[in-house]
Symmetry: C2
Subunit: 478 residues, 2 copies
């Protein structure tokens, strides 16, 4: 094999080593030398091209350093994996890392979908109409000099005071400086993961659980072990043996109106979970987005065990509105600074303008009335959707009667795996967004469950679609 004719003029640039590197590089890029192919020995290559073995060795080594060649002791040199395509091409690891669950993100963008049965937010016309405009008008009177800078790393202090007071009312005793405002609760989750966990660390998650949590853990290369959610809490036996078998650093859990099942912990379930956390000495990260949608009281792990055991995450996308993009975490004092530093390096401060707007909204007299109205409306929607499910033979995993979500599956024989993806794709064509259960399963399993947003799932066209697509009989009048 002769790849090129060396240019031997003295003082010519590039050097013979450079020329050899370039020739090999070109041959690899042109696929004359293909991935895995053995190269001639250094001696052989030198002889073929009339070069010194030193020149060839230097060239080979440079290409090894760049990953274009691989060297194995005793086995000579081979062409490495060619990973540098055109640089603007998507790197090969991007697609598999993200996977099909991102159908969820894609449908976010599609406003032609009218029946958002799989979405995670309330219909826009359910929101309080007057309070955000009012808050924005109030903000327009704040002098720019008070509102132009980055603001405090922890976020707008009056809002942190309001949150600390609210948490204290629930029995969770934190000071305003233990509250870190974030760009939504999802950023709070990412900050906790990136600050307190390292790649390779083991954590436990509920099965099923919040889809973005699984993505955040995967992106940070955390090893997530699944613990089945029960209607009263989580499966303690599984958690116990997990914690015996692995150095579990943290458990991520949603105590109230869990996404996606809608289930809430009982007080007994909460106690048993915290006992396990004590015994095995792991942190609990409590994601508590939906508490305000629950009409009655429910356990809050952070208030039971305190900030030395529980990191508390919440935000205002469920109880105010999603476009607010303000969330927070509350934690033990020694953890506040490291978390704030991670927040600052990931995106500097959060938006004080929006934090001031939330502060206005929460103190607006309309807010309490709005929450009561939303809870009542969701209760009615649960009744309506549960009736449609019974009539169509759907199995509900539990019937929370509150919050946004209902976790249910069609009667057997039900679609799973490929058939479920097909069903969701068919639904999209009919203007219906479904959220297959596998999106929320830490192991990607699919047992035919779907997450229903009750605010969107009373639509007769949804049930018409199911009857057609699954060949269900017409419903019996109840």
């Amino acid at each position: 094999m002769v790849l090129f004719e060396p240019d031997r003029r003295r003082k010519v640039a590039p050097t013979l080593v450079d020329q050899t590197v370039t020739a090999l590089e070109n041959a690899i890029r042109d696929r004359r030398l293909r991935q895995g192919m053995a190269l001639p020995s250094i001696r052989q290559f030198a002889r073929n091209h009339g070069l010194s073995t030193f020149t060839v060795m230097a060239a080979y080594n440079r290409l090894v350093a760049r990953g274009l060649l691989q060297s194995r002791p005793g086995a000579g040199f081979r062409v490495g994996r060619l990973k540098q395509a055109a640089p603007a091409a998507v790197p090969e690891w991007v697609a598999p890392r993200i996977g099909s669950s991102w159908l969820l993100a894609d449908v976010f963008a599609d406003h032609s979908i009218s029946i958002k049965a799989g979405c995670g937010w309330l219909p826009p016309d359910w929101h309080e109409q007057a309070s955000l405009p009012h808050a924005l008008r109030q903000l327009s009177h704040v002098p720019i000099s008070q509102m132009s800078a980055y603001g405090h790393p922890l976020g707008y202090r009056p809002l942190r005071e309001h949150i600390a007071h609210h948490l204290l009312e629930h029995g969770f005793d934190v000071e305003p400086d233990q509250v870190l405002l974030t760009h939504g609760a999802t950023q709070a989750m990412d900050i906790v993961v990136r600050t307190l966990l390292r790649p390779g660390d083991h954590v436990a998650v509920e099965s099923p659980c919040y889809a973005n949590l699984l993505q955040i853990l995967a992106l940070n290369r955390i090893v997530a072990h699944a613990v089945p959610r029960t209607t009263e809490g989580i499966d303690e036996e599984t958690l116990d043996s997990l914690a015996r078998a692995h150095p579990i650093r943290a458990l991520f859990v949603t105590t109230v109106l869990q996404n996606p099942t809608g289930a809430s912990f009982t007080m007994a379930g909460a106690f048993r979970l915290l006992q396990l956390a004590e015994r095995h000495d792991f942190l609990v990260v409590e994601d508590d987005m939906s508490r305000d949608l629950l009409p009655g009281p429910a356990p809050m792990l952070a208030s039971l065990a305190g900030a030395s055991r529980v990191i508390y995450l919440s935000g205002f996308s469920k109880n105010v509105m999603p476009s607010i993009r303000v969330g927070y975490l509350a934690c033990a004092k020694p953890l506040v600074d490291p978390c704030a530093r991670t927040k600052m390096l990931l995106g500097l401060t959060s938006s004080e303008v929006m934090e001031r707007a939330v502060h206005h909204l929460l103190r607006d007299g309309r807010h309490g009335t709005y929450l009561r109205g939303i809870r009542e409306r969701l209760r009615q929607a649960h009744d309506e959707v549960a009736a449609a499910m019974h009539a169509h033979g759907f199995e509900a995993w539990t019937e929370p009667g509150a919050g946004m979500f209902l976790w249910a599956r069609p009667p057997a024989p039900r679609p799973t795996g490929e058939a479920m993806i097909e069903l969701a794709t068919e639904a999209l064509k009919a203007g219906i967004w479904l959220a297959p259960g596998s999106y929320f399963d830490p192991e990607g399993r699919d047992e035919g469950w779907l997450r229903f947003n009750v605010a969107y799932s009373g639509d007769p066209r949804l049930w018409h679609f199911f009857r057609q697509a699954l060949s269900l009989p017409d419903p019996q009048p109840s």
Copy 2:
């Protein structure tokens, strides 16, 4: 060594393995068994406690899995590093990872600092006073139904159209769907790193460069190689040999009014850089925050080489105001989706309310006038600060005469390392925020440079402080 008396009653829980695990665990936590101490062999331990070797082996293995014991082939078992302190304690890797450069974040929070010579933003009273209030009042008329939801994953479309139009005016041809709005430009940087790079990947950065970039790369375990910044561009020879020695995937660069040096690329410097990018086939990530502060034209790498080679980052914290927290990236079509997905999983959508506010602000007739005013004011501040520097014998690395930053150092013998940190600490006590150059150095080196924000550095108290702290002679009238 006998650690415990096994309870041998049949059917008793816990099992003998459980009991052994607990006894060893307690001995390790009580420090009866200390870190690094050799354990008895399995056979020996079994004999001492009247247990079967199977029981002891199972117990040892479980503790190895949990990291409490370490097993080395042929060397038996040792007590591992006891890493589980009280869980709410700061994990031991947090502090070293963040390091002293986070003095920067700490001073963010301190409003008692009146002379912010080291900060990265304009004084609040320099901002346009009327346009944000006006934008907020306009927004208060938008019906909630149009503004309550999460919004499009790429961000508010009219703002993306505005940005695409603006970039086209600079010769960078992208469509609105190639623009991804983010929570400030720093989040855009994190998104690019997390989407397109993997831990262990090699990249090149300028020396010195934006401090948060270094933190983001470190947090994502990217190997950053330093390339010296020159007054015309970057040191091409270093970049060339770096790219020969390592598989450099990307170069992060600020073309115009660089943070911290204030330097801008010449057209020739930009061309030579892009030739190297072609030759070595790496991506260029162009961080272009301050272009609007430059009075004249300057090269934009993205417009010279296009989106197939350059990912473009910018935002509105320098040309509108920091509290806006809206940034963006513009890139090749195949990269938009993966980046949008990373954005969605890290914190869902960005704030449409703020994006609408920016859109109003940019179209406000006052914006152009404001920018012209700011540029003139910064030019005057540069003159004033440069004069103070000359009078005090300070060495300016370059004199950009525009933008916010001036990179300069005191006359020799100048403080470096510990002495520089001491100087910055003394300054804080005097109400002065200094930004030592080591914060911006990829290798943490300190050659006595400081980043000065000219908008804050004309203050006579700053120069009084320097005269006192560095024993400088009184300045000569010029």
